[in-house]
Symmetry: C2
Subunit: 446 residues, 2 copies
């Protein structure tokens, strides 16, 4: 019986879940793998708190540095989170010939491009299924299940906090601030929710998906990112009347000629999707990734995007994939049999440009505040016509407290650059306030 020995960094929520699987599911995993996965060491700053697990056969330490160098560890699971010291520990583990599995999307999005070559150089694997979509095996589905396809689009509901807030706003007609407060009380949102609600977490995940879909480098810093904090209950109601729901989506699409991709479009923003689409049904804290390919057409992968047990499930799936190709003391040969971490072999990954935001083509939802006087709508629509932006729908809402009234417009497709030019001209109109909300709409999702 061969085995693989695991060292775990971080015994927080997910770390506890991983330890729990490795201990409780040992026999089931052995039946599936034909070999054993054994938790041999755990590092955490707080070793006194009771996690309800029997660690009597496990070496406990508060020194992660010991584990990433330990002779008796074949695979290191990094569940510390954040950029540092996670990056240093992972780099050291790889350099010491240890496989690494992580759930850390920030780490992969920011430092993956430095860590993958390090792993390759030392003949070890790096798994990060849990970094995107929590428990959903969406990276595996994209990388392996859809490998025969040129990917036409990736749409992801990738942040459970935002989806919980938007679902609650929709169900209860409640305003953003109130729902956020409730989400914080329930533990669905952090005390400082910026990372989630401003779309940064989604951008981390999208940058990984996009690079995997198109064989490009991970370019987190180039993702166009807008959060959900400016959306009102009234926007959600307007969208609903028009047949749409609002979801925070991460979106990636390829651009190029003759099937050759030379630029990647990446954006994260609140998005109107048709109310009867599969994506629109993904509610509460659920996540989903929709991958469309030129052969497979639409596929969607749905499940829990966070939480101790679902995320741990994805971490351990990675451990099992790696365990399948190697065991204690095995060399690099087995690892070459795994799908490459980013879905393309290293030499074939390219440094593709990110499509400039101004060139992104989109349909739009516009919410303008205009003074309730004759000729304003005519002036606005004539500017849109002049910019060759055609309207799909328009609705003027009830008068607000002030003298101005909200006007909601849906446009057909135009470029972001063209839309922004139109908006500049529109808010220069004396009867239009500067505060314009621009949401984007995707009609072609499944």
């Amino acid at each position: 019986m061969t085995e693989i020995r695991v060292g775990l960094l971080g015994l927080g929520t997910i770390g506890t879940g991983v330890a729990r699987i490795l201990i409780e599911q040992e026999e089931l995993m052995r039946r599936r793998l034909g070999k054993s996965v054994r938790l041999v060491a755990v590092a955490d700053r707080d070793l006194t708190r009771d996690r309800g697990l029997d660690f009597s056969d496990v070496r406990l330490t508060d020194d992660a540095n010991e584990i990433v160098r330990a002779e008796d560890v074949d695979l290191v699971v990094e569940l510390i989170g954040g950029y540092e010291p996670a990056r240093s520990f992972v780099a050291t583990a790889l350099a010491h010939g240890k496989h690494v599995v992580t759930a850390n999307k920030a780490l992969v999005a920011k430092h993956g491009e430095d860590l993958f070559p390090l792993a390759a150089e030392h003949g070890v694997a790096m798994g990060f299924e849990a970094a995107v979509g929590g428990g959903i095996p969406c990276l595996k589905a994209l990388r392996e299940g859809c490998a025969a396809n040129a990917i036409e689009s990736v749409y992801g509901i990738l942040n459970g906090t935002c989806n919980f807030i938007l679902t609650k706003m929709e169900n209860e007609g409640a305003d953003y601030a109130d729902v956020l407060k409730e989400a914080q009380q329930l533990g669905y949102a952090e005390a400082d929710p910026t990372f989630d609600v401003e779309g940064i977490d989604t951008a981390h995940k999208l940058s990984i998906l996009a690079a995997m879909a198109y064989g490009s480098k991970i370019k987190f810093d180039e993702v166009f990112t807008e959060g959900i904090s400016r959306i009102t209950a009234s926007d959600i109601a307007s969208a609903s009347e028009l047949g749409y729901r609002i979801k925070l989506l991460g979106i990636a699409k390829p651009h190029g000629v003759n099937g050759e991709v030379n630029a990647v479009e990446m954006r994260v923003h609140p998005t109107l999707v048709p109310a009867d689409s599969q994506l629109a049904q993904v509610s509460d804290s659920y996540n989903a990734v929709q991958v469309s390919g030129d052969f497979v057409e639409h596929t969607m992968y749905f499940g829990r995007g966070a939480g101790e047990r679902p995320t741990a499930s994805a971490v351990v799936a990675d451990i099992m994939d790696i365990a399948r190709v190697c065991s204690s003391g095995s060399g690099p040969d087995g690892v070459a049999h795994l799908a490459p971490p980013m879905g393309f072999v290293d030499a074939e990954r390219r440094d593709l440009a990110t499509l400039p935001v101004a060139d992104v083509e989109c349909e739009y939802y516009l919410r303008l505040m205009v003074q309730d006087q004759p000729g304003v709508i005519a002036a606005v629509t004539s500017i849109l016509a002049d910019q060759r932006i055609s309207l799909e729908a328009m609705s003027q809402k009830e008068r607000s407290a002030a003298n101005s009234v909200p006007v909601v417009m849906l446009t057909h497709e135009t470029t972001e650059g063209n839309l922004q030019a139109a908006i500049s001209r529109i808010i220069a109109l004396p009867a239009v306030e500067e505060d314009v909300l621009i949401l984007r709409k995707e009609s072609k999702v499944a």
Copy 2:
């Protein structure tokens, strides 16, 4: 540059799709794999029909026997369908040391247990992702993505023809026979639709999913199977009023004590699922597989369950997985690095019993035809009470042409045996007709 040489049996719809990917997507596949996949030979009875593909570098033959023995073929793709001669060709290919990929669910369900050992004996792989869920990488998701979980349930919408018919019946209030005729005209249903509409195709697929989920043998013959042909527009409307949609589901659940599975429940039948569930949203010819595990909770995999291009996508995904672990002339070592075909290593697969149908616990939808006279409902409900079956809802529908009226009841959970005993007593009532429709209900789907 290593390569893997593919021989293709069957140039029908899916075979043409596979040939198309291998030819058109050659460069993309090479970038993802780091090696080449080359179509070297194709066998079909009809080699004259134009498939719009350039086969100038491919050996065309009408003799499949030549390909399954050919020296220059590493991997045989079987897309003939049906039991024979597909089984013989696959067995011969495996015995000649060739990897096999198939989309043939009937073959895997019926003969998989003979073919897997043959593959193992000759150190080759057998892939069949396309056999379940068409283009959806659902077997990979279950086998590898959810490998850290004890599987709590598998629910599948696995037949596009049935889902198309049920969706159309619901959307148009149309009757089964009319919609079937339309589906046949559109090519969504076969001239003889028995295999699809009576649930046999779904049972093939479910038997594979169940064996994979629980580490048991494939027991297609033991799947309890009912089709959709007795459902009326009025049943769909009644279900809708009660907050449910009707889907043909394949359902697998484990039974046992202390987490040890000792029997597997397998059933295929029209099922009421909550209208707001993710499964209920899967419409038209789409398929979906919902896998729930003790750690990952609910996951769902959605996409096209049939068709040239989606099914070919899954076939080629299998080819690529196998290509990753081997190349021309490689031995059995690489194959051992693949996940085992049925998700558990051979020695750990067990011959688990199928739960007797009488012991299956379910909620029920009952449609009785009763004479419109006093005391009938009282008599029926007192029999149910006597059998300790409690009602969740009941509705009496408009009078039909005859003297009898339909009565619809939803029950809480009871065993199939107990329900059948109750039904026997109920139809013995003089005022109740023998024609009772029993549908089943699953409230716990996501």
